[in-house]
Every structure is written in structure tokens, then in C-alpha cells.
């Protein structure tokens, strides 16, 4: 009971055996992070709406047959969650392998080598090889923008860029076209990015990209650095007036 903090109308949730208090509307991810559980995420980003597309934040919920997504599953009273079982660890590794197999992720020659959340995650889940056939998609890079480059070979369709552009910048240049395995990102109803009149050149999409799919133009291998805290800071600043805390 040591970690339980009493809250009015609170919910009692157990994360990996640690009893936590939560409030209605919180996600499993919110509570698990407070409990110190290290649940990996890719599409989830503080400050953006929840997408639930990458599937790496899988957790086990007592009484549920299938794993649930920590980012999009709201906590309920007396919920018991396990975040790091053997099965969950294996599921996450499979998810990461599938992401690698689906695109052309060649870290050694990537602009984000060393600054890539997908690469970090592969290391975290112990991915030393991919058990699924690589798809080697033929996707052309869009370098038409004066400041940025979009390389869909490295895109994992996390939609952080879509949400950052729509929700934080308010431009909604980015979106997802087609369906299922054929899905792909487009700018401005499938115009080349450099011809997208709505783009404000703000670069939020680039800075939140977890991989090397979006990068500053002119950067060579390994020279891309992301600033994924930016949109969380902006969101808090707008809603809570917190403008301090960033250098």
C-alpha cells in the first residue's frame, strides 16, 4: 500500500505488482510511467493526441485475452497490468521486427543514425536479426522542400508529423493516404512537399519524427538530431501557461 496515493473518486490500479491510484480518463501508459514502468513507445508523444498505431506499448491486462495498447487503453478500477512479461517482450520484438521488415531501414547510411527512436527500440528489445521477409518497398524520396527532406523508405507511419502539424501548428499539411499496407504519407493532397501552400516551414514535423524519414536538408549521415520534447512543451505552455523549462 506504500505507493498508493489517495485521490477523491480515484481508481485503484496495479502495475507490475505496484498498487497505484489513478483518475478516470488516465491511460495505462500514464499510470505505468508514474509507477516507473518502462513501456516503450513510438507513435505516442506527449503533447499530441493518441494514435495507437505502432503497437510497441503492448501490455497484459488481467482478464483480457489479447494484449492491450498502454497508450490508448483507459485504466479501470482494480485493473491489474503487467508490462514486461516474457510474452509481452516477445510481442514487442516482433512488432519492431515487422517495422524493420516493412520499410528500408539501413541504419548505417541513415541521416538519423544514432538519433533514432526505432534504432534505440530495436536495441532495447534485443533485436539482433529480423525473422520476417524484408519487403524492400520502392518509395521515392521527396526533396522538393527547400529546407527539409521526406524519405518514405524510413517512415513507420506513426503519424507524429500528421498530428504535430494539425494539432500544434494548425496547418494540417500532412495526412495518410490509402489504406492498410498500402498506406503512405502525403503532403497537401499529394502535392510535392515543396509545392504545399499550407506548409509554414515550421519544422515541427521534422523534429518529432522518430526515424530518419523527415530530416533537415543538407544533413549527412548521422547528423540529424530530433527535439521530440518540443510539442509537449508547446502543448503544456498553451494549456497550462508553462513557458519555462526549455533552454
Amino acid at each position: 500500500m506504500a505507493n498508493r496515493r489517495a485521490r477523491p473518486n480515484g481508481l485503484n490500479v496495479t502495475i507490475d505488482g505496484v498498487e497505484m491510484s489513478a483518475v478516470e480518463g488516465e491511460s495505462v501508459l500514464d499510470v505505468a510511467r508514474r509507477a516507473g514502468a518502462a513501456i516503450p513507445t513510438l507513435c505516442y508523444l506527449d503533447g499530441l493526441s493518441v494514435h495507437g498505431g505502432c503497437r510497441v506499448c503492448l501490455v497484459e491486462v488481467d482478464g483480457e485475452h489479447a494484449p492491450r495498447l498502454a497508450c490508448s487503453t483507459p485504466v479501470t478500477d482494480e485493473m491489474e497490468v503487467r508490462t514486461a512479461t516474457e510474452a509481452i517482450t516477445e510481442h514487442r520484438r516482433i512488432v519492431v521486427e515487422l517495422l524493420f521488415a516493412e520499410g528500408n531501414h539501413i541504419c548505417a547510411v541513415c541521416v538519423s543514425n544514432g538519433s533514432c527512436e526505432l534504432q534505440d527500440l530495436a536495441s532495447e528489445v534485443g533485436m539482433d536479426h529480423v525473422r520476417f521477409p524484408y519487403q524492400y518497398p520502392d518509395r521515392a524520396a521527396d526533396a522538393s522542400h527547400p529546407k527539409y527532406v521526406f524519405d518514405p523508405q524510413r517512415c513507420i507511419l506513426c503519424t507524429r508529423c500528421v498530428r504535430a502539424c494539425a494539432e500544434i501548428e494548425g496547418a494540417h499539411v500532412w495526412d495518410v493516404a490509402a489504406r492498410g499496407a498500402d498506406s503512405y504519407l502525403v503532403t497537401e493532397l499529394n502535392l510535392p512537399w515543396g509545392e504545399a501552400p499550407s506548409c509554414t516551414w515550421c519544422g515541427k514535423c521534422v523534429t518529432v519524427c522518430p526515424t530518419g524519414a523527415l530530416a533537415f536538408k543538407g544533413r549527412a549521415i548521422g547528423e540529424m538530431e530530433h527535439d521530440t520534447d518540443l510539442v509537449g512543451f508547446l502543448a503544456r505552455a498553451r494549456t497550462e501557461g508553462e513557458w519555462e523549462g526549455r533552454s
Binding site: 521515392a140 526533396a143 543538407g218 549521415i221 547528423e223
Partner: protein, 478 residues
């Protein structure tokens, strides 16, 4: 006794190859072919990539000379950006290339060729390798490893990693050199200079024992092509291209590498993935052999008037006293390589002694200003060209890479033929003869991974075929 010998795989070179020896009705060698049997296709899959990725992407062509590809690619990128890079960036690029030449030449001499030269061409194959050398000549082996380490630490300081660094970029280099790193590198120079000089002395002392090899290892007239300073000084990074004939006549001088298509043709042969560039003025695709030219250490020393540093110039004078103004035997590649190591160490010393090497301004920035760019520099094995075409946004639409080993392809074929005629008599190939054929190739220090932009280590395969093409004998060494 007619027939064909096939040597497959060729060992102690970088890449995969085989050799076919065709015998005539009398059992003497009628023809010899050096086949490179692997393919990677960088020129194809680089299309569609941003030009800024090309240096580190093409550096993956080879684990031995990634710096050479970084440099040629970055220079092609400079041309597309249409920038003059900052002086400190050129100094650092030069430093990296000198380190590259030292480490690659050390690998070639100590790891690949010294077993033949010090232990003997006819030594038992089981011990005729680096481990055998380390057992019988431990100090020589140690010296080679240390020299290589020296070169690689320089490469790491500039490009970020010893192998496949990415710090040489279009517009300059990614990071300036710190005073701390500069001081650490300077601490190596004394040992490296002594090692280079001692190794040269050691090799010169052995030369008289290889008179037959000097005569038969690719000794024939050809042109020689290399970068050369405007004042005739040995060059490895800048300057123009000079071509010299076997009599020492300058055939062409001060040529812009960007114009290479106007003076070099590329001949493709169906029995090898390795293309054969040739000097256009003397040949055509119908018969490229009259346009045969050699590149690399032998060519660089032949075309230059001076090395530009005291110890290397003294060594060059002694070399020319023995080999003539124009050294025509490919066996002298070894000799030229060791003189270059000495000269490189001297030049490294000079660059590191200059405070300008740590100037923090090392990168020029620009957009896409030209649709085509050619970059060239001297790789350890010879002149390397990268030729890129880009669209308006800097995305690669065309790539052509002319690799040093390819430019020596005609000469390597002729060398194999010459050695085979000298040593092979009939379908049986004694091991010592097999090794001499390989050593003839090895003298060029070919890198087939680069030259076909291909991957792998270098097994050796020799096949002997009769006049009708029927196989008579095969020798394989994996």
C-alpha cells in the same frame, strides 16, 4: 599438351576473382584472363538518394579504403553545391587521405604481400601468411600492425570512425580537429616515420633476390595516369591529371578530372564484372588494349617530378636509379607503395605541425547549384572518380564510378599472361607457380570489392582450358 588452368579463388587480395589460362597445342600458355566474379550495383541503387548521403553511402563500397570513396563523393558533392571548401577542411581531407594511404599500403605490404617477399614465393602455403610472418619476423609484423593503426587513428580523427566514417561531407568536413586529437596524432609521427623508413630499407635489401619477378611481373610498356601538382609534385587529393608514356613523355597534363569522359573510355567484357577503362586517344571499345594505362603507386611515382618531402625524394631518386625514370614492372608497385608511405608520413607531420589544421571553420553550406558533379582523388590503388547527376532538389539521378582497380584491369590481365608464359608449362601448376600468378595480381593490390562495387573476401580459382575451351585442370584455394 593443350588445356586450360583456372585459379579460383585468387587469395590474399580484396574481393573474389578467378584466372583462366588457355594452353595451345604445344602446352604453352596462349592466353590468360583475370575474371572478377562478383557484383554489387552501387551505381544503380544510389539513384534516388539525396546527394548529401552519398559520401557515407558509397564509403560502404569498401572496408579498406572507405576514405577514398568519402573524398571522391564529397568532392562530387562540392561540385554540385558549387562551393569552395574552407582551407581547414581541405587540410583535414588531405590528412585523412594520407592516413588512408598509409594504412592501406601497410595492409597490402605487411599483411598480403610480405609473406611472399620475406618468406619466399615457394614457402609452404600453410605458413605463407601473416601468421607465418608473425612467427618468423615478429618485429616486422608488429611494425606493420602499428603503421596501420597510425593511419587508422588519423582516419578516425577526421571521419569519426576507423572504418566507414561519415565525417567527410559535401562542403567540407563535419567536425574540426581538436588540439587534443592533433597532439595525440603528432605523438605517433616519430614511430611511423622510423617504421616507414626501416620497411623501405628492408624491401630494397630483398630486391636483388626477385630479379626474375621484376622481369616477368607485368613488365610491359603502358601509359600511366595519376593526379599531379601544377609544379609536378606528387599529389593525392588535388591538382590535375597527368598522363605519361613508357619513355617519360608527358602525354597530357593538368587535365580536369571532371572531363574524364573525353579522354577515358570504359570497356565491358562478358567474362568479368570488372570494367576496363582505357585511354581513348589510342583505343576504342573494339580493341581497348592499345589504350592500356596503369594507375596507383607505380603511376603516381612515374608521372611526378618529385615527392615534395626530403626523405621521400631521396627514396625516389634511389628508386629511379634502379627502375629507371619510368618503372615499367608491376613488381615495383611494392617499392612505390613503401616510398609513398614514407612521403605520406612526412606530409602528415607537416599538416599536423601547422596550426591552421585546427581552424574551426570546416564546412561550406549551399543549395543545389549544378546538376552534375565529378569528384576525383587518389585512392591507395589509384585514381578514383565519382560522377553524379542530380535533379533540381539534389536527388541522385545518375552515378558512374571509375575505380582504380578497374583502370588497372587491362594491365592485370597482361600481367597474368606474362607470368603464366614465364612459369607455366603444361596443365600441372606447382604451388609456387600458382602463388606467383596470384602475387602478380597482388602486386597491383587490387580491391575487387571497390572495383565491382562488390563485397567479400578473395578466394582464388585457376582453370586451364584447351584450345577448344574444354577444361583440363582446376586449382581452387578458398
Amino acid at each position: 599438351m593443350h588445356g586450360t588452368h583456372v585459379i579460383d579463388p585468387v587469395t590474399r587480395i580484396e574481393g573474389h576473382a578467378k584466372i583462366t589460362l588457355r594452353l595451345d597445342e604445344q602446352g604453352t600458355v596462349d592466353d590468360a584472363r583475370f575474371h572478377v566474379t562478383e557484383f554489387r550495383g552501387f551505381e544503380d541503387f544510389c539513384r534516388g538518394r539525396p546527394v548529401t548521403e552519398m559520401p557515407a553511402l558509397t564509403a560502404r563500397t569498401c572496408g579498406i579504403c572507405p576514405v577514398s570513396h568519402l573524398l571522391a563523393s564529397a568532392k562530387a558533392g562540392d561540385a554540385i553545391l558549387a562551393v569552395a571548401i574552407p582551407p581547414a577542411a581541405e587540410r583535414l581531407r588531405r590528412l585523412a587521405n594520407l592516413g588512408q594511404i598509409v594504412q592501406s599500403h601497410a595492409l597490402s605490404f605487411f599483411h598480403l604481400s610480405a609473406p611472399d617477399l620475406l618468406l619466399g614465393m615457394d614457402a609452404a602455403p600453410a605458413s605463407r601468411n601473416l601468421f607465418g610472418l608473425a612467427a618468423s619476423e615478429p618485429e616486422v609484423a608488429r611494425r606493420g600492425i602499428r603503421l596501420r593503426q597510425f593511419g587508422q587513428e588519423i582516419i578516425e580523427a577526421v571521419s569519426g570512425r576507423r572504418i566507414h566514417g561519415s565525417g567527410i561531407v559535401a562542403g567540407g568536413v563535419a567536425q574540426p580537429l581538436s588540439e587534443e586529437t592533433r597532439a595525440a596524432l603528432r605523438g605517433w609521427v616519430g614511430e611511423a616515420r622510423t617504421a616507414a623508413a626501416d620497411t623501405l630499407d628492408l624491401f630494397v635489401g630483398l630486391l636483388d633476390g626477385f630479379a626474375r619477378e621484376v622481369d616477368s611481373f607485368g613488365r610491359f610498356p603502358s601509359l600511366y595516369l595519376a593526379h599531379c601538382g601544377a609544379d609536378g609534385t606528387w599529389e593525392h587529393y588535388g591538382g590535375g591529371l597527368r598522363v605519361m608514356d613508357e619513355d617519360g613523355n608527358v602525354v597530357a597534363d593538368g587535365m580536369d578530372p571532371a572531363d574524364y569522359r573525353s579522354f577515358l573510355g570504359e570497356w565491358g567484357n562478358e567474362d568479368s564484372y570488372l570494367k576496363s577503362p582505357y585511354w581513348k586517344a589510342l583505343a576504342s571499345d573494339d580493341d581497348p588494349m592499345p589504350g592500356i594505362y596503369r594507375v596507383g603507386p607505380l603511376a603516381r611515382l612515374n608521372v611526378c617530378d618529385a615527392m615534395g618531402t626530403p626523405e621521400a625524394d631521396a627514396a625516389l631518386a634511389a628508386y629511379r636509379e634502379r627502375a629507371g625514370r619510368v618503372a615499367s614492372s608491376s613488381f615495383y608497385y611494392h617499392y612505390a607503395r613503401l616510398i609513398e608511405v614514407l612521403g605520406c608520413v612526412e606530409q602528415i607531420d607537416g599538416l599536423l605541425a601547422d596550426d591552421a589544421i585546427t581552424d574551426p571553420h570546416v564546412r561550406a553550406d549551399a543549395g543545389i547549384n549544378r546538376s552534375r558533379g565529378v569528384g576525383a582523388s587518389e585512392a591507395p590503388r589509384g585514381t578514383l572518380f565519382h560522377d553524379y547527376e542530380v535533379d533540381a532538389h539534389g536527388v541522385i539521378t545518375g552515378v558512374n564510378m571509375l575505380i582504380a582497380t578497374g583502370q588497372n584491369n587491362l594491365a592485370m590481365n597482361r600481367t597474368v599472361l606474362q607470368i603464366a608464359r614465364e612459369f607455366v608449362t603444361g596443365p600441372e601448376i606447382p604451388d609456387g607457380v600458382l602463388n606467383r600468378i596470384e602475387a602478380g595480381i597482388r602486386a597491383f593490390d587490387p580491391c575487387l570489392s571497390c572495383s565491382t562495387h562488390a563485397l567479400g573476401q578473395m578466394p582464388f580459382f585457376v582453370r586451364v582450358v584447351g584450345p577448344d575451351g574444354s577444361p583440363l585442370a582446376e586449382v581452387r584455394r578458398d
